[in-house]
Amino acid sequence: MADAGVPRAGRPVRPFPPGEPVPPEEPAWRRPADGLRAYGLIVGMWTRSALAYRLSFVMMTFGNGALTALDFAAVAIIFGHTTRLGGFSLAQTAFLYGTSGMAIGLADLLLGSMDGLGQRVRDGTLDAMLVRPVPVFVQVAADRFALRRLGRVSQAALVLAWSLSRLDVAWTPGTVLLLPVMLVSGAAIFSAVFTLGAAFQFRFGDASEVQNSFTYGGNALTQYPPTVFAKELVRGATFVVPLAFVNWLPATLILGTPQPLGLPRWVDWVSPLVAAAVCAAAAVAWQAGLRSYRSTGS
């Protein structure tokens, strides 16, 4: 339809140097696999860029792991003064800490630099992404990819493994399956929150810090027991920004702790559905944000 002006057969060969074949007409990057391939390409470039400063790279990886380790040191110090916090033992809190940390760590690793979108809108470098044959989302997600963020994921994984070794869980096939499912769903929920935040930055780049309230703030929230917080806060984290589905609700099934809001027990199983729903909402918001940018410019 759009090609009506220039018939396909009439598309002249443009020789530079002369006399060689023209690149294929087929639109690239249509399929998800193509998007993933492009993501991999850009991630590879950033990783090699980081390795250009080897010493700094090592320090950053160490720093990132240590940063979150000190974070857990705070939890350890708290439990040096008490054996229970909000009715949760250290091992139970460590389980929440580990699952929350792995979920946000994975989201942060895969598309954690999306909060830089506002900056790219302001300085105009987003335009360069819009003239490449790769979806903008893929480019923004891969932007400033930092392998050092693996430090956060592995630190959380260690805490989780330690907590599992200390917990006395009555495992059933259901709960064994639930553990990886809740980690993936949690990562998806946090990814959706990152994406939603970035979508808003197409219009409100200056407000980028609000995003941190829901991502890193959400992480700070869900690494402590829900019983510590006021009920309104827990309700907000369940029904408004569904962070409770990252770990609080599914964890009740594994830890055998009471349901924080007294909701029906089936709610504790639906994290994957909630994750799918917020991802869909994030996708819609992203499209709307991009459309708004393309109609108004920077």
């Binding site: 759009a2 090609d3 009506a4 002006g5 220039v6 598309r11 002249p12 443009r14 020789p15 530079f16 140097p17 002369p18 060689e20 074949p21 023209v22 690149p23 294929p24 639109p27 690239a28 990057w29 492009a38 390409l41 850009i42 470039m45 090699r48 860029s49 250009a52 400063y53 105009g124 470098t125 335009d127 360069a128 819009l130 003239v131 490449r132 044959p133 790769v134 979806p135 459309r291 393309r294 109609s295 108004t296 410019g297």
Partner: protein
Amino acid sequence: MGRTEVRDGTGGTGDAVIRLDGVCKVFDVYRRTGLLRRERREVRAVDGISFEVARGETVGYIGPNGAGKSTTIKMLTGILVPSGGSVRVAGIDPSRERTRLARRIGVVFGQRTTLWWDLPLRDSYDLVRRMYRVEPARFRANLDRCVDLLDLGPLLEVPVRQLSLGQRMRGDIAAALLHDPEVLYLDEPTIGLDVISKAKVRQFLAEVKAAGATTVLLTTHDLTDIEQLCERVMVIDHGRLVHDGDLAGLHAVGASERVLVVDFARELPAVDVPGARTVRVEGPRQWLSFPASASAAPLVAEVAARYPLVDLSVREPAIEEVIARLYGDRASL
């Protein structure tokens, strides 16, 4: 809109690579008028532009800052969606099929490099090859040619951060051509470059032009770029095309003045000669301005008869002045 005369650079519409028809872009601009109150104002950044560019043409696209140049380019690349009118580039509607179009155009942003700062130049090119899926043999041929013409050989293994501005610009231009774009947009490709780098860039673009297959749209503040590369130039001001034609036409349209530079034997007060104005006095040298259409001979005779003349020369108007006049005097067109 009707005022703008569209020049058809090809004598037909069959081979137009870029085609704009009545294209508009309207922005809402908000101005703070109180603590919370804002005032909405409509700005027509591009106000009904129509033109065509034929395959292989190299066209200069100039105008003052904020005239609508970059808005036009953004609509041509699919970054911005037009508010009205139609755009076709290589037969594609850029706003609807942006990523498909991306494979067929190349863009160079003069003030921002798209090369990878910390990696050797070669790595950026390799990414282009894979991202645009350029066939290896063809990629090698294109790269060899660019390396050859732009003197990039010794730079390929150097991290981009260590390149000079001129070297980086040459690197950027090469990166934009490796996937055989049908259309190349160059936004201020010589800005901030030293004389030698500018010359190299122009020489390369002249080669691209001579090959005849790439359509080039060039925006620049440096009119030497235009003089050396484009036989056609479009001038945009306040969102409208005010000139579309050759450079000579630009002079005629500009209703310009020529300047007679006179050296007298001694310092004199500003001379008074009919048919000319003295615009500048500097020691014994004076500048006399007269209409470009008038002959210089009677003026020279008059000056020689009345004052002790040592030397004189006539200066043709600079394009800058012509364009400045054009912008200031748009209504008379």
